[in-house]
Amino acid sequence: MKVLVMAWRSILRHARRTTATVSALVVGLTGMVVFQGFLGQMMRDFRDGTILSGIGHLQVAARDQYFVDGEFNPFSYGLKDSEALSTALERQPGVQAVFPSTGFVAVAGLGDQSATLLVKAYPPERMYFAPPAGTVKAPVDRFNLGTLTEGSSVSPGVRNSLVLGETAARVLGARVGDVVTLMAILPGGNLEGRDFTISGIFSSPGRDKSFAYTDYATASDFIRMPSPPVLIAIASDIGAVEGIADSLPRGLSFRTWRDLAQLFVQVSTIMASFLGVIRAIILLVTLFILANSMSRMVLERMKEWGTLRALGTRKRDILFVILSEGCLQGLLGAVLGIAFGFLVSAVIDVAGGLPYHNGAQAYAIMVRPGLDSIWLNLVPSVATAGLAALLPGLRAIRFSPSECLREA
C-alpha cells in the first residue's frame, strides 16, 4: 500500500512531466472514445437501417431452401398455420410486430414499354417511405423502403396499387396515377396478369431500378398463394432476438438479422479491425512517450533507488514502485481521456449530432460511445503504461545500490 502511495505522490511531485506524459494519453483516448462513439452509433444506425430495410430481426419459413431461392419464387414454401404461428410469436417477450411477406417476379407493361420487376409485398402499415427532403427519423416498427420522389405509399385497404422504383418508372415512362399491367408466371406455367395503379415512385440506391412494392393481400391474391412463405418479426430489443428464435416450434426454419445482413456483418468486422488498428497506434505512441519519460525519470532518481536499496528494499519492490508509477500514469491518462471522450461526445450530441447523407436520405449521426469503451480503452492503456515502465524499471534494478548512489 505504501508503494502505491509513494508512486502516486511521485507522480504529483513531478507534475510537469506527468502532465506531458498523461496529456498524450488523454488526447489519444479522447479522440478514440469520440471516434468509437461516432463509429459505434453509425454502425448501430447501419444495423438498424439494414434490419428495417426489409430484413427484419427474424424471418421464419417452412424450409431452409426458402432462404436460398424462395424470396421471389415462393410457391412451394407456404407456411402452415401461419396465423397461429404469428399469434404465438407476437406473444414472445421483445417482439414488437409480426407480419407476413411474399414476393414474385413480374413483367410490367405500360404502352409500348416493359420492364422486369421484383415485387415485394408487406402489409401497408409495415411499409414506410421517407419524405423527399429533410432529416428524418424512420419509425422503428416499419420497413424503411426508400425515399418518395412522387406520390404516396400503398394505403391500407386500397388494393392493386404499386410503389415503383424511379429508374424502373423512367424505363416504363410511368407517372403517379398511371396503370401498369403486371404479368407473372404461376406454378404449372399459368400466366397471370393484373392492372396496378402507381401510387408512388421511390428512390433507393440499388433498388429503384427493379424493385416495386405492393400490399401483402393484393400480392397473395395475385399469385394465388393464401399462406405466406415467410413471417417477419421486428423486435423491440436486438438482444431479444435469440430468445425469440429459441421459442420457435420445431420443424421450422429461421434466419436472424445477423444471418441475413451479410454486408453489415462484413462491414462491422472491418470497422472493428480498423478501430483495433487505431487503438494499437495510439497505444504504441503512448508506449513510446511513456517509456521515454519513465527512462528519464528512472535515471533522474537513481539516488532514490540507491537509498531505498541501501535501506533494505528488495529489487522486486523497487521494480514494483516503478511499474506502479507507470500504471498509475496510464490509469490517470485513461480515466481523464475516457471522461473527456464522453464529455465531447455529449456536447456533439447536444449540438444535434453529425450530419450524414447516404445518397437517398439525410440523417444526424449521434456520437454515443458504449460503456464497453471504458474497459476497451482503460485496460490496454494501463497495461501499455505498465509495459512502458518495465524496461526502465529493469534497468534501474540492474545497478547495485552503490552504483545507483554513484550515478546520482
Binding site: 505522490r9 536499496r309 541501501a310 535501506l311 528488495r314 547495485s400
Partner: protein, 232 residues
C-alpha cells in the same frame, strides 16, 4: 587490530572499477577488523577508497577479491534479497546529501525501514516518535523533507538510520554538506545515540575536526590503509 566482540572482519579485500578499458583499483589488499561498539573514522583524501570501503562494509557493493564477514555472515554468500534483509536489520546509513525520500514526510521517512521489517503500526509509531523526540524533530513529523534545513534533514536521516536499532551505523561524510556548527551538533548527536544504543559507528570524513569524535582513526591512501590507530 582485533576485538573480542568482533563485528566486521575484512580479509585481503580488493575492489577494482572498470573505467572504459582501464581497470582502476579502489581498494588494495585491505585487512581490517572492527569490534562491536567501536566508533571508527575513515580519513583520507578524495579517491583514497574511504567511500568504497564504507560501501563494501555496508553491503551495497561487492568485492573484486577477498572476503568480508559481518556479524558472523559472509556477505558474498548472501543472495540479493538476503542482503537487502541483512542491511535492513543490521545496518543504518547516513549519507552526505541526506538521501531522504522526497515524497515521504519526516515521520514516514523514519518509519520506512520498519515497514520493510513488517513491524506493527503501534510499535512503528512508538519507535519513530521516540527517535524524532531525541533528534528534536517531533514537532516537524508531518513536514516534507524539502521544507527542512540541512541540519534538520541530517537529523531525520540519523533517526532513520537508528530506528531499526542496528548493530552497525555507516555514515559517509555526514557533515560535509553542513556548516561547521551544524556539523558539530550532528556529530555530537550521532555519538550520543551510538553510545546509548551500543552500536558500532563507522564514518568517513575529510575534516580533522570531525575525526575527533572517533575512538579509532583509520587513514587511507590510494585504496590502502596506511594508518590505523586508537585515539583518546
Amino acid at each position: 587490530m582485533t576485538n573480542e566482540l568482533e563485528l566486521i572482519r575484512i580479509r585481503n579485500a580488493a575492489k577494482h572499477y572498470q573505467l572504459e578499458k582501464a581497470e582502476v583499483p579502489a581498494l588494495v589488499d585491505v585487512n581490517l577488523a572492527i569490534g562491536q561498539g567501536e566508533r571508527v573514522c575513515l580519513m583520507g583524501p578524495s579517491g583514497s577508497g574511504k567511500s568504497t570501503l564504507l560501501n563494501i562494509i555496508g553491503c551495497i557493493d561487492s568485492l573484486t577479491a577477498g572476503s568480508i564477514e559481518i556479524d558472523g555472515r559472509q556477505a558474498h554468500t548472501l543472495s540479493d534479497a538476503q542482503l537487502s534483509e541483512f542491511r535492513n536489520r543490521t545496518m543504518g546509513f547516513v549519507f552526505q546529501t541526506f538521501n531522504l525520500i522526497p515524497v515521504l514526510s519526516v515521520f514516514e521517512n523514519v518509519e520506512y525501514p520498519l515497514l520493510l521489517q513488517r513491524t506493527t503500526s503501534a510499535e512503528r509509531r512508538e519507535r519513530v516518535d521516540e527517535l524524532l523526540e531525541r533528534v528534536g524533530l517531533k514537532d516537524l513529523r508531518r513536514r516534507s523533507p524539502e521544507r527542512l534545513s540541512g541540519g534538520q534533514r541530517q537529523r531525520v536521516a540519523i533517526a532513520r538510520a537508528l530506528v531499526t536499532r542496528p548493530r552497525l551505523v555507516i555514515a559517509d561524510e555526514p557533515t560535509a554538506a553542513l556548516d561547521h556548527e551544524t556539523g558539530r551538533s550532528i556529530m555530537q548527536l550521532m555519538v550520543e545515540l551510538n553510545r546509548s544504543a551500543g552500536s558500532t559507528l563507522i564514518f568517513a570524513t575529510h575534516d580533522p575536526a570531525v575525526s575527533r569524535y572517533a575512538g579509532r582513526l583509520i587513514t587511507m591512501s590510494d585504496g590502502r590503509i596506511v594508518e590505523d590507530r586508537e585515539v583518546a
